[in-house]
């Protein structure tokens, strides 16, 4: 795999989240509302995350290389550490997107958070049963985002202590390669 070869050139510091120079979380935000996308993007950037914001479940699946048209090997987006999706979207709901992601052997480990303006117990239960990490009631607050990112980063640290070198490779963002290559 190309990434393996390139890794050799750079100092291997698959360090913990607390050190500077550690990779930031990359979050994929999915929301059909332009306003909400702008706000969630800001919340995430303030929390030192890299953000990719898309307007539909379909686009999200395309980005993740799971739209059926491309084979996973052609997927060239940055590794996604967290997906935050609105529940009510035209076409594919956040719940349906959640099911697609959890149904994929390649992507199911990515934590998915559902956001909804409606606090409906049945809806929340369904999402949690399908494997959502959390269900946030809109409007999403900075404290929600900070709590989430801390949780994800802590999870990454724990995984690295136990973990596999393959996981460490995935943690390295592609931007390290592109900025250092001449």
């Amino acid at each position: 795999m190309v990434m393996d070869q390139e890794m050799g050139r750079y100092p291997s510091s698959s360090s913990s989240s607390s050190s500077s120079g550690a990779p930031n979380l990359h979050v994929l935000a999915v929301d059909d509302s332009h306003v909400d996308r702008k706000v969630i993007e800001k919340l995430l950037k303030i929390s030192c995350c890299k953000v990719t914001a898309v307007e539909s479940g379909k686009r999200a699946l395309q980005y993740l290389g799971l739209d059926g048209d491309k084979s996973p090997v052609e997927f060239d987006g940055l590794k996604v550490n967290l997906i935050m999706t609105d529940y009510s979207m035209p076409g594919m709901t956040g719940y349906e997107l959640l099911k697609e992601i959890k149904g994929s052997s390649r992507l199911r480990e990515i934590p998915v958070v559902i956001m909804s303006s409606e606090n409906i117990l049945g809806r929340i239960d369904r999402c949690m049963e399908e494997g959502a990490e959390e269900f946030l009631v809109k409007p999403v607050q900075l404290s929600d985002v900070r709590r989430l990112t801390d949780f994800i980063l802590q999870g990454d640290e724990d995984r690295q202590k136990v973990g596999s070198s393959k996981r460490k490779l995935w943690d390295v963002p592609r931007s390290w390669f592109t900025t250092s290559c001449s």
Binding site: H34, V35, I46
Partner: protein, 149 residues
Amino acid sequence: MERNLHRQLANMKKSLFDQGYLDEQFIQLEELQDAANPNFVEEVVTMYYRDSARLIQNIDHALEKNPLDFAKLDNYMHQFKGSSCSIGAKKLKNECTQFKEYCETGNGEGCKRTFQQVKKEYAALKKKLEHYFQFARQVGPVEKACRPK
């Protein structure tokens, strides 16, 4: 002089809160403003007014149909309410909730009446916020968001 302008701005904001136009969410947005994005709230609000104009039109057209498609109306209003919440538009949010309730009970007259209110509030808030942001730009960035008492 500068402090006086800041105080005037704070009073404008307090008045918007006291009159129920805005809620806590507006403050949350202001707290996201930083040196990189000193006009973040104004940008969000501008985006809101641009995007929601289309929704308002859609609802207007849908209200002219006979019979009314309440599911469609509810769907449009859900989107509109969501964005209104996101910018902290309290009065608007409440009118939207009322509209949705009328959709649920299939009350066409209620919907039409409430929507007139929605449009009024929408226009009133737009004017007030335009005025607020215009003044805020003159005053310059404040060090931190001031919470109205």
